[in-house]
Symmetry: D2
Subunit: 353 residues, 4 copies
């Protein structure tokens, strides 16, 4: 049996196990009013997720409210009732119609008390949070204090959340990065240049590895591996010897050796004959109309979040693993690290031959 | 334990089983020369797959040849040696640089004899075929007659091949269809119209169901379910009552009730007050630069095809199931039917509330 | 002096003349309330034009109302006040937020009387109509009966309006058609096929000629020239002799020889060895986010429409000729025909060498 | 007569005049061999221009050669014969298949002597240069020394060349910038942020003004106007008072007050309550498949360049003004400055009301 297959077995048993763990204390309830909000950095697909949750609630005869600007709006009571029509024509929109914001106040007991009072005034019994680990940490604390359960959906382009194969917005972000890399390669080829391209991913190299493979990069530098400046220099010199005239090197934002500018500066000294340029893709990666993959993922998770609350689940994140909906406790999503599939790292080496 | 989870178990054991079956007669060999070709309808990602196979061959010190126009070129000896440079700058290209064609001659013993002679003249010991079931059927017969093994990669936008979650080109085709649906919705909304949009998929509703969900369609008609004209009429009348002014209905090419034109004609009689339009997306769905998903899938499968031949596999298709490479015998890919995930069908109903 | 330059002189004097004609009866007035509507087929950029008109009105302290569904809403009094915020975030949207509809009732004296009463009830003194010749004809009649002047903006993807170099939505439609042709060429090349592609343009070959040149078509069939089936057959046979294996022929919807299906059927008989396919691009050409060109054109025309009303202009269409705003009487836009620039027709022949 | 119309007259007479000036010494010749090259920064449409020139040469029975890497290849004799097939399937490609490079050697008499020897060895009588003023300056000197005439085509995304309304690549670059701005606005709106976006244009604000208008920016800072930091601060504070929660400010690379980072840093101090972000679009603006506008412009100019040489023109740039081909002496393109149309600057103010 091959190693890759064993790994599938590993994934299978692991999530099977988590599933078991989250089962005991969940039993169907009879929620009548829930609320949804987006929190943390926006990502393409958030609106598709909100839309799906709203329509699932309507489908199951549950009243659903939208909280604007995450915990900030929860504290202020910036909460509106939503219906099917309120979310029509939003599946294709980037950003979040519910807006997002950071809330320092929710970190304080006073802030959470106000939030609780706002929710109870409206009779809200459960919450759906679309965001990342910061958001889920807040939900966990809030549940322990006030008993209002949350089911989360993974909304971040970085794909660094344990408990789901892909996060909402990741596929779109990779496609956006790829589109940019394709454009830059036109110039790299025309001028025989070497380009260092920095993509997003503070703690994770998912965007970098996927856009690097898809974009035909010679090298990808990600936090998960120990890429060294020496390796970059060696690769570039090797390409030079093989008369390769242009190269693209994708660098993850959170790379240990520093971002694209820092890396390129160090490399320049060792490959003085090369025409080296640097570009940082930046915020374009967060926006745009969600890809097909993201719209379907988001739609499934929006429905799964509502159904999770209905099943009595609490403080779990709905995710899709191996094409199935799985609920993972916030405790796990916050503490466990999702590794990059070793096949992808192997692929970069083979394809840049 | 939920039903969806059981289904995952089903998938797992099934493929586990197939894996076992294909193991016995495969043992590492020492191939030195292989050839690759594309066959059947072109799909975005075929070039990325060829590129990956070529570079994997170079990586493993195997000589690799490209056969132009599938079996036609195999018979004619239209075969060229490929190296790393020959496939550079192709990862982003739609279509196939090796071209594709149908070959009536390969269906005859004489044709296959000529093909065998061409291959042996060059010393080619194994083949990589990127195509669909028609292609694989040919490979199977060819192996039985002449003993040259083939590893296949699933190249079709229809995603109707058993043995892989996604086929090469499917994700791109869905995104292309979705982009078209987004554009058409602009007009549908502006004019309060009902649009029937026909997407590709002769035997399978994969493109229809995914582009329908992603495009916010009210209804999706696919061969896999028994969609009836009555249901369409009822849905449209229901929408009318809820003051929904525009609707999009996605129809798969192979729908039992007929294509979009046939369906819309029958519906028009029952909803005379509606402004109904029909559009057939057609061939745009086959082309274009492959999406990130397709480039990575294609790259993995190109490498997996070479490694499959090296491991002594024969007459199997390399696919990705649950994010892992799996080799499925052609016999299975040809005879077994891949179902649409029930969650997706359920989703259409919930989201059109 | 070359012939092309003389033609520029022709254009120049012609519009100079029209300008003169439209001057006499226009003198600055002091309008305080105006209304805007979209009518006829939707086109990308209509929202950008509405937005610009609204903001120009705000800028000049004029109250501006939006009439929904064109003349239909004018008769029903479906009219809302607009402000700067009402149109924010619409510049990039396809379709029309004011919606569009055909109105049989406005063709009757009774219908127009109702419309007049609705407008006077609100004190509306001038109208901005974004649409085509059908719309402008209605405006002209309405002015003669009730004295409410209209300034028009050319909203149609067909670019068949005299009095402007480009109409709102044309550039986007050409880019959409081109994107589709690029995708189809992937397949044409991969399979050595000949594709007949039908693009929109009932009376005009503008979309066909521009997307044909941009898409590298071998031949473009437009109503403005006498393309004959014989020419198509000859071109295809010629290409066959030069070992050209794939070809794209763009056919305008309104071609005298019939649409793409009719033409291809007749051609097939004469080139039996060719693999011929047909595709009709259809409604995707109307939608989508407007291109840069269309957003700027629309914005300029929205402002020009408001300023035109302020200057006392009536029953003229604002257009851009040679990069300058020009107002052309509806009488001219309706009766005069805009020719395709002869350079473009010449270009198709040279480029398909 | 309005002021804008007078300006059209100004443009008309000016170019009319230039036309006259360039006429005297041009008389039809009988060139048999010409060569084409791309030089300076690459821009989308360069390939479409090369393709058109090659096919025009074939059409007129002129032999045409491609020089790789501009003046560098001219000196080295890196020159290949081109035919119709060599440029097929390139109309949609970004970058330049002839590659581009800077040549220090061509600035020396020795370098130019070598170039002349390479050209005469092949019998080349005329040159087509796709590039900017740096390229044209070289051509002018080369002609004075060796008598080989050049007709240029304006290849630069910056649109800063006098003698043409649009340069090759400009429309594509604006659309790329606009697409990025649309994406960033998703995030700006979701988080109530202010974004400073830097676009290309070292000496010219064309990309900034067009992408700013098209992207719905509150403010555009270009070298051509005296935008002051004070104005930015005032605008942002004004928006704050009107409860505008997000803003986009487009800054041209060559802005006198510094780039986007410098400007934003100075602004931050005065609007401390705002959440301000900065992004530099960078090299993505140079690449990508050319837009419809750029493909047609490039095609016309490629043909015009060949015809210009045939007409005996020398050291002139082919451009399109008011939709007609015009040849402007390099002396003029190099020394005269093309102003931004005042309507566009006015538009920014009106639209950000």
């Amino acid at each position: 049996m091959s190693k890759v297959w064993d790994m599938a077995g590993y994934w299978f048993s692991l999530h099977h196990l988590l599933q078991e763990i989250s089962e005991p204390d969940s039993e169907p309830n009879n929620m009548k009013k829930i609320a949804i909000f987006t929190s943390g950095g926006d990502s393409p697909g958030m609106n598709a997720c909100v839309r799906a949750a709203v329509r699932a609630a309507v489908y199951y005869n549950i009243e659903i409210y939208g909280i604007r600007r995450g915990y900030t709006g929860m504290i202020k009571g910036d909460i509106v009732m939503l219906d099917s029509k309120a979310v029509s024509n939003t599946v294709q929109r980037g950003g979040t119609i519910l807006k997002s914001a950071r809330s320092e106040e929710f970190r304080t007991p006073e802030g959470r008390k106000k939030a609780y009072e706002q929710l109870t005034a409206l009779g809200i019994e459960g919450l759906i949070a679309i965001g990342g680990n910061g958001t889920f940490t807040g939900s966990d604390i809030f549940y322990n204090e006030y008993g209002i359960p949350t089911v989360g959906a993974p909304g971040t382009i970085d794909n660094d959340l344990y408990g789901t194969d892909y996060t909402i917005g990741f596929d779109t972000a990779v496609n956006t990065a790829l589109d940019a890399i394709d454009k830059i390669r036109d110039t790299a080829d025309s001028h025989d240049r070497i380009f260092f391209i920095e993509v997003m991913g503070r703690d994770s190299g998912y965007i970098a590895i996927q856009s690097g493979i898809g974009g035909g990069a010679e090298l990808v530098m990600v936090p998960e591996t120990n890429s060294s400046i020496e390796e970059v220099i060696e690769t570039l010199k090797g390409g030079w010897n093989r008369l390769k005239t242009s190269s693209i090197i994708v660098v993850a934002e959170g790379e240990d050796e520093g971002g694209a500018i820092a890396v390129s500066n160090r490399v320049k000294k060792h490959v003085p004959y090369a025409d080296i340029r640097v570009t940082t893709l930046g915020h374009i990666q967060r926006g745009g109309s969600p890809s097909a993959y993201d719209r379907i993922l988001s739609s499934r998770l929006g429905v799964a979040a509502v159904e999770g609350l209905m099943q009595g689940r609490k403080n779990v994140m709905a995710g899709i693993i191996n094409n199935e909906v799985v609920y993972t406790p916030f405790k796990e999503t916050i503490t466990l690290k999702k590794p990059i599939h070793p096949d992808l790292i192997r692929l970069v080496n083979i394809l840049s031959v």
